[in-house]
Symmetry: C2
Subunit: 96 residues, 2 copies
Amino acid sequence: MQFGERIKQLREEKELLQRQLAASLEIDTPMYSKIERGERKAKREQVITLAKLLNANEEELLTIWLSDKIIENIGDETFGLAALKLAEKELKKKSK
Amino acid sequence: MQFGERIKQLREEKELLQRQLAASLEIDTPMYSKIERGERKAKREQVITLAKLLNANEEELLTIWLSDKIIENIGDETFGLAALKLAEKELKKKSK
DNA sequence: TTAATTTAGCCAAAATTTGACAAGTCATAA
DNA sequence: TTATGACTTGTCAAATTTTGGCTAAATTAA
């Protein structure tokens, strides 16, 4: 599940309108619409605000959001998976 | 192994100077130095050029380079590993 | 149809990235 | 010591990318 898809799901569960969330995020509705469709990406702070507005788990949303950014970073490189695995290895090394 | 570290290794094996590679890449030596130390990141085209100059495997270098970008993207998020694993799952889904 | 919601496209402002330059350190040689 | 060559550091401006606002179009609901 991608980020936009997930917040749309949560928004619809709560029966909120895009323009309501947009107002709370202090952006306009078209911008919010783009975030929901993945055409633009939310900023970290916006994800946190959204988690509150949607009564969602902040870390869950941040994880999906970051995953989206990583996927976007990879683009359509054929070696994307190899790079991901290498990154995982390096990240583990780093955390030690 | 990170990208800068790897190209430094290759450069030293070939006994080339930073300024020689810098000239071939059409950037100045300080900039090349920063790339080697990971202070700046190379552009995709530069990685390809470097692979040629260093007689290295292009895909190997690109993979390390992309991995570095991913790691940088993650920053020090505590859920970085979770996001990586999710990204991997989504990437596999995407490629189908 | 009309009204409300959502999406599309375009343009400017803001932020980030890239690169050049000047000046610095460090090691070695004369 | 002084000089030279390799590399590094810091700062600034140019270029690119990202972000957001606006208008208008499309879709959906009543």
